[in-house]
Amino acid sequence: MEYFLIIISAIFVNNIVLAQFLGVCPFLGVSSRLSTATGMSGAVCFVITLATVVTYLLNTYLLVPLGLEFLQTISFILVIAALVQMVEIVLKKTSPSLYAALGIFLPLITTNCAVLGVAITVVSKEFSFGGAPHLMNLGEATVYALATSLGYGLAMILFAGMREHLAGNDVPKAFKGLPIAFITVGIMAMAFLGFSGIV
């Protein structure tokens, strides 16, 4: 039940783009076509989940026992950058087809603030899923990361679908491109506000 609450809240209620404003740059950057949006969502999903597990372990078993929490930011970003490189190399060797699909998106992910954002959130923020507020354990952190990245994918794919239609429409000149995209996301975020209060 608790995991179910985490999943619903991370995907719909606290959607990472539409409610928390994380990963907005790539969200706008690669959502002009549905196929690229799907590829990017897959890559982000993979990296966020993996990076959160690794940084969680690093934080719990190395930084906290040694009293080095102030190194969180710098060590997390290094872990994420190294991880992205490693995933790229491993994928290239073992699964060329998946690499071809995700390839160009992987290097971009290092600077996607959603990855670092989720990694920092799970080790620093107290959550209460029905019970008393507590820091997440590894299981909850993993589920939270996976659900959050699914929410990212959901928002991105929905938005890409709308944006493909927008491209063919006659939009006033000053609104062309990003301004109309922002307004569309605003309306989408308003729709997602409807989910608040569920959990």
């Binding site: 539409l18 409610a19 928390q20 404003f21 994380l22 990963g23 907005v24 740059c25 706008l28 102030f70 190194l71 969180q72 930011t73 710098i74 970003i77 290094l78 950058a81 290092t110 600077t111 996607n112 603030c113 990855v115 670092l116 954002g117 920092i120 959130t121 000053a174 609104f175 990003l178 301004p179 109309i180 995209a181 922002f182 307004i183 996301v185 605003g186 309306i187 975020a189 308003m190 997602f192 506000l193």
Partner: protein, 193 residues
């Protein structure tokens, strides 16, 4: 390019928010009020100036292949310095801006300037570039904050001049996207003239 134009370029022609559209996450998330926007802008400017100076000094000796990781470490170092300073002297501000202070590390503006300007120019020019872009970013965030605060709570910098609650949606997530979109339209109109 004159020293003065390096600074003014960041205000309109290469405005990081409305023209380059970089660093959107803190821009949208922290501008719930004018004061928050201003504080976030200043925090980013601090990191931007210092990292620009250091990167311009070390760029000639950094091998090309590893320059991005090196730049990120430099930026992350200054962000950590900023985090410690803010926790010590302005804990209230640090608590309000929360997650978005450590996330300055992955703000595309900072890495973008390191890559596009500081890596190729001298320390003084890079510092000026940091100041210019930093002021542009701070101003943009403050403007967005002012608009959202007026519409959302009927006040400016905490000074309330419209009675009542205001339109709550503008303080929440949808308002950020809407205000950003319409301000960009306005900026496009004005800048084109």
């Amino acid at each position: 390019m004159s020293k003065f134009s390096i600074i003014t370029r960041g205000l309109v022609k290469e405005n990081p928010t409305f023209v380059l559209v970089l660093g959107m996450c803190p821009t949208l998330a922290t501008t719930t009020s004018a004061m928050n926007g201003l504080e976030m802008g200043l925090a980013t400017m601090f990191v931007l100036i210092l990292s620009n100076i250091v990167i311009s000094l070390i760029a000639p000796v950094v091998p090309d292949k590893v320059h991005i990781p090196v730049y990120i470490v430099v930026i992350a170092t200054f962000v950590t310095v900023l985090q410690l300073l803010m926790q010590a002297y302005v804990p209230q501000v640090y608590a309000t801006l929360g997650l978005f202070i450590p996330l300055i590390v992955v703000n595309c503006i900072v890495l973008g300037r390191a890559e596009a300007f500081a890596g190729k120019n001298g320390a003084l020019d890079s510092a000026l570039d940091g100041i210019g872009i930093g002021i542009g970013f701070t101003l943009s965030l403050t403007v967005i904050g002012v608009v959202r605060e007026i519409l959302g709570s009927g006040s400016v910098f905490g000074w309330k001049f419209i009675a009542g609650d205001g339109i709550l949606a503008f303080v929440m997530a949808p308002g950020a996207f809407l205000v950003m979109g319409y301000l960009m339209v306005l900026f496009n109109k004005l800048a084109k003239k």
